[in-house]
Symmetry: C4
Subunit: 300 residues, 4 copies
C-alpha cells in the first residue's frame, strides 16, 4: 500500500503548495459553511451564532494544521498579498496560491451543498433564494445586514481584516515572544473566533476573498442564480477588495508600532549551522519537541 | 497497597491494549451519552446542543488521554481499519480492538442508563420509546432526521468521517509540523467538536461504528426493544458501514494530497541511538519535556 | 517592600501547604459559586448553565495554578484520600488538608455572599430560602433534583467522582504519555467542565466534600438556617460520603485497567543526578522550558 | 519595503513600550467593546452574554500577544501599579504607561463607534442615550445594575480585581510551577473569561481603569454627553479607584499566602551566563523551543 502511494509522489514544490492551500481552505470552508448550514436549516435548534463562530474558528485551525508544513498555511489571498508586500513570499507564487484557495472554497461549498441537500430542500421549500425569510445563499457566502451602507461595509471589512493581520503577525513575531509550535494554528483560530464574536453582525466577517468568492461562484452555478452578485447592492466585490486593503493596513500598523523597533540583533556565530542541525533533528525525531544544541557544540 | 496492585499486573501486550481501548471508549461514551441525557431529560434547561458537542469532544479528549500510552487510542473501528490499511497497525489485532471498543461503548451506555434512570423515567413517563415527543433512544445511539434520505445519510456519514480522518492524520503527521505531546488529545477532541458544530444536524455525527452499535445493543437489551434497529428505515447499519468508507476516503485524500509528497529524507546518522536515548530519558524524567541530544553526543 | 514581605516568611512546610490548599479551594469556589450567583440572580440573562460549567471548570484550573507548586493542588478531600490510599500522600497530613479545604470553601462562599448581597436581596425579596421559586441556597451548595431518589443521588455522585479520578490519574500518569507542565491545570479544569456538561443535572455535580460542606455551613450560619441540612430529604451527607467512595472506585479502575500493567522499568543510571540537575535548572531559569542533559554529561 | 520600514525604527525603549501598551489595550478593547456592540445592536440575535465574555477574554489574550515582548503587557493601570509596588517595574514609567493605556482604549472605542455607526444609529433611533431601553453607552464603558449600592459596586470591583491579580501573579510565579511561554497570554485571557462568567452581572467587570475611562471619554466627546459621568449616581470614578485597591489587595494576599514562603534558593553557579546563552539562542532560533545548556557547558 505504502509503495503504491509512493508512486504518486509529486516532487514539484509549487504543485505541492497549491494542493496544500486548496485542501487547507477546503477544510476551513467545509467546517465554516457547514456550521452556518446547520444553524440555518435547523432554525437555531442545533446551534446558534456562537457555533458558527466556532465552526469558522476551528475550520481555520485545522485548515492550518493540514497545510502548515507544506505551504505555510496562508489560506487567504489577503494574507498571501501581505506576505508578498513584506517580502516574505515570492510574488510569482501569488496567482497560483489565490487560484487554489478559491478552488478549495468552491469545492467545500459544493460538498456542504451535497451534505445538506435534503435539509436545504426542506428548509427552503425547494426554492433557492438569496433574500427573504428562507434565504439559503447566506450559508455559503456573506451578505450585508439591511441597515449597512456601502461605506459602512467597506469600513467593517477593512477593520476586521486589519485586526486579523495584526494578531497573526504578532503570533508569528519571534522577537515579541516565542510560541510552542503546535499552538499557533489554535491561536490563529482563536483570532477568527474573537473577530466573529465582535465584528460578525454587520456583514458576516468574510475577511478573506477566497472564502467569499469561491462559495459565491458555487451558489451562482448551483441554482441561486445571478442574484448572488446583485444582492446587497452589488455587495460581492466588497469582501474581495476590502480585506486586501485591511490586511495591508493591519500589516503596516503592526510593523510600524512593534516589529521594526525590535533591537537589531547581530546574529550569533553559527546560525546556519544551527538551523541545519535543527532540520536534521526534526527529520530524525518523531513526536517529540526538538532541541537545538547551540552553545554545546560551539563551545566544544 | 501498591504491592497488592502489582500482583494484578498483566504483561500480555494485546490484553493491555484491549483494556485500554475498552476504557478509552467507555470514557468517551460516558461523557458523550451523558451530555445527551442531560440535555434531553432537562428539555434544554441544563445544556443545549453546544453542550452535547462539548460532551463528545471532551469525551474523546479524555478517552485518548486514558489510553494513548498503551493502545495508541484509536477508540474507533474506522480509525483502526484505516491504520491497518496504511500498514501502521497489524491486521491481526483489528477484531480484538473492534470488540473491546464496542464493549466499552456498551458498558458506558449502561452506566449512563443507570445514572439517568430516575430522570429518564420521569421524562419519558416510564415508556422507553425510540420515536415520538418523549423518545429517549437518541440519548444512546444516533437516528437520522426525518427529512434525511438513506443516500443523504450515507453521504453525511462518509463526509463527516472523512473530515475526521483528514484532520487526525494531519495532527499526527510529523513532517507537516510538530505538536507538543499533550496537545494532540485536546486537538482530536476539537476535531470532534467542530464536526458536531458543522455536521451534526442531519444524523447526529456517529462517525464511529463502536460509538453507535454498542449503545444501540444496550438499548435493545434494556427495554427499548427491536425498534432501535427498525427506526429511521433500518438506519442502524449506516453508522457502521459509512464511517468505514469515509475513514478510508479521508485517509486516501490526505495521503494523496499531502503526506506522500513530503520529501524523502535520508535518515541522519544515529537515529536508533537517538530514539534509545530518548526512551531512556522518558523513563527517567517525570513531567518534563524530554530532550534529545543528537548533535551533542555525535560530535563528542 | 520585598524586605518587609520576606519578614513574614513561614518555613513550616505543612503550614505552607495548608495555606495553599485553602487559597486554591477559595479561588475554585469564588469563581464557581460566583457563576451560579450570576446566573441565578439575573434569571439566566447574563449566563446560562454552560457558564456555570465554565465557572467551576476555570475555577478548578486557577485553583490548581495557585497551589500546585506548594501543596500539589488536591483541592478536594476525596482526591487527598485517594492519594493517601495509593501511598502517594502521607495519611498524617490528611486531616489538615481537609480542614483547610473546607475553610477555603467557607470563606469563598462568604465572599460571594458579600459580592452578590444586593443582587440576592433583590432576587429573593429579602427572604433567604432553600426551596421554592426564589431559592438562593443552591448558589452555594448542591441540592438534588426533585425526581432523584436517594440511591439515584448516591449513584450519581459515585459515578461522577469516579470519572473525575479516572481522568485526573490518566493526566498525571507519565508512563501513559507526557504532558507539558502548564497544561495539566487546564485539563483538570476541562474534566470538571465535561462532567458538568454530562453529569450535572441530577444533583449539581458536587464531586467534592469540601466544595459542598464549606458553603453549606456558610448558608447555615448566614441566614438560610437549618433547612440547608434538611432539604432534599437530608441530602447534605451524600456529597460528602459518595464522592469519597467514587474517588476510590475510579482510582481502583484506573490502576487495575491501566497503570499497574505498565512495564516495570529498570531506572537508568543517573536518575538522582538528573533530577538534581533538573531542579537546579528550574531555579535558575525563568519562564523557559527546562532541559535535562542526561546523555550529554553521562557520556563526558 | 523592509528597508523603508527600517528607516522608521525607534530605539528609545520607553517610546517602544508606550506604543506597545497603546496597541495592546487597543486590541483588547477593539474586541471587547466590539462584542458588546454586536450583542447590543442585534438584541442578542448574534451573540449572548457569553460571547461578550469571550470577546474581552480573547481581547486580553491577543492584547498580551501583541505587546508582551516589548512592554511586558500590563494593559491595565492597576496591574502596572501593583508591579511598581512589588518593585518589579520602575515608578517613573507608571504615568507614561497609564496615559498610553487610556489612549489605546479611547482609540479602540472610536474604532468600534465607527465600525458600528450604522448599527448603533438603527438600534438607538439616532439618539445616543446612557440609560433607557435603547441605551448604547454601555457598549463602551461600564454602568452598575440598578439594584447595586455604591458600596456594593466598590466591593464588587475590589473583589474582581483582587481575583484577577491573584491568578495572574500565580501564572507568573515560576517557583509555583512552570508554564510554556505561549500559554501565558491564553491563561490570562481565561482569567478574564471566568471573572466575566462569575462576577460580571453587578457592574460589568471593568477591573481596569484604562478600559473604563478611555471609552467613557470617547462617549463624552462623541455625543452621549455629560450623562456618561452622571449616570449610576456618578459611577465613573469607581472603576478607576476600586480596581487599584483590589489589585493591591490581591497582590498582598498572593504574596503573603504563597510567594514569600517559597524556599529561598541560593542561585546556582552560572545564572548570568545561562541567561546570556538563553538570549543568544532565542535570537538565533526561529519558532522552536529554546534550550538552555546549563549542565553541559559548566561541566566542560
Amino acid at each position: 500500500m505504502e509503495r503504491l502511494l509512493r508512486k504518486c509522489q509529486i516532487r514539484n514544490q509549487l504543485v505541492r503548495e497549491c494542493m496544500a492551500e486548496c485542501l487547507g481552505v477546503y477544510i476551513l470552508m467545509l467546517f465554516g459553511c457547514g456550521s452556518v448550514a446547520q444553524v440555518t436549516t435547523t432554525e437555531e435548534k442545533k446551534g446558534q451564532y456562537l457555533s458558527i463562530n466556532l465552526g469558522f474558528a476551528l475550520g481555520v485551525t485545522f485548515g492550518v494544521f493540514v497545510s502548515r508544513g507544506v505551504s505555510g498555511a496562508h489560506l487567504n489571498p489577503a494574507v498571501s498579498l501581505s506576505l508578498c508586500v513584506l517580502g516574505r513570499h515570492p510574488w510569482i507564487k501569488l496567482p497560483f496560491y489565490v487560484f487554489f484557495q478559491v478552488l478549495g472554497a468552491f469545492l467545500a461549498a459544493a460538498t456542504v451543498g451535497l451534505q445538506y441537500y435534503d435539509a436545504i430542500w426542506l428548509y427552503s421549500g425547494g426554492k433557492l433564494t438569496v433574500t427573504g425569510p428562507t434565504a439559503t445563499a447566506g450559508i455559503f457566502s456573506t451578505y450585508p445586514a439591511d441597515y449597512l451602507s456601502l461605506w459602512g461595509g467597506i469600513v467593517d471589512q477593512v477593520i476586521g481584516t486589519a485586526a486579523l493581520l495584526l494578531c497573526v503577525l504578532a503570533l508569528g513575531d519571534q522577537r515579541n515572544g516565542s510560541l510552542p509550535d503546535g499552538l499557533q494554528p489554535v491561536l490563529v483560530g482563536a483570532v477568527v473566533l474573537v473577530i466573529g464574536v465582535s465584528m460578525g453582525s454587520n456583514s458576516g466577517y468574510a475577511l478573506n476573498p477566497a472564502r467569499d468568492f469561491g462559495p459565491r461562484l458555487f451558489t451562482y452555478v448551483a441554482g441561486w442564480g445571478v442574484d448572488v452578485f446583485k444582492a446587497g447592492g452589488g455587495w460581492w466585490w466588497v469582501p474581495i477588495v476590502a480585506p486586501c486593503i485591511g490586511a495591508l493596513l493591519g500589516t503596516l500598523i503592526y510593523e510600524l508600532m512593534i516589529e521594526v523597533h525590535h533591537p537589531v540583533h547581530h546574529p550569533v556565530h553559527h546560525p546556519s549551522h544551527l538551523s541545519e542541525l535543527q532540520a536534521s533533528c526534526q527529520r530524525a525525531t518523531e513526536g517529540k519537541t526538538v532541541l537545538q544544541l547551540k552553545g554545546c557544540t560551539s563551545r566544544l
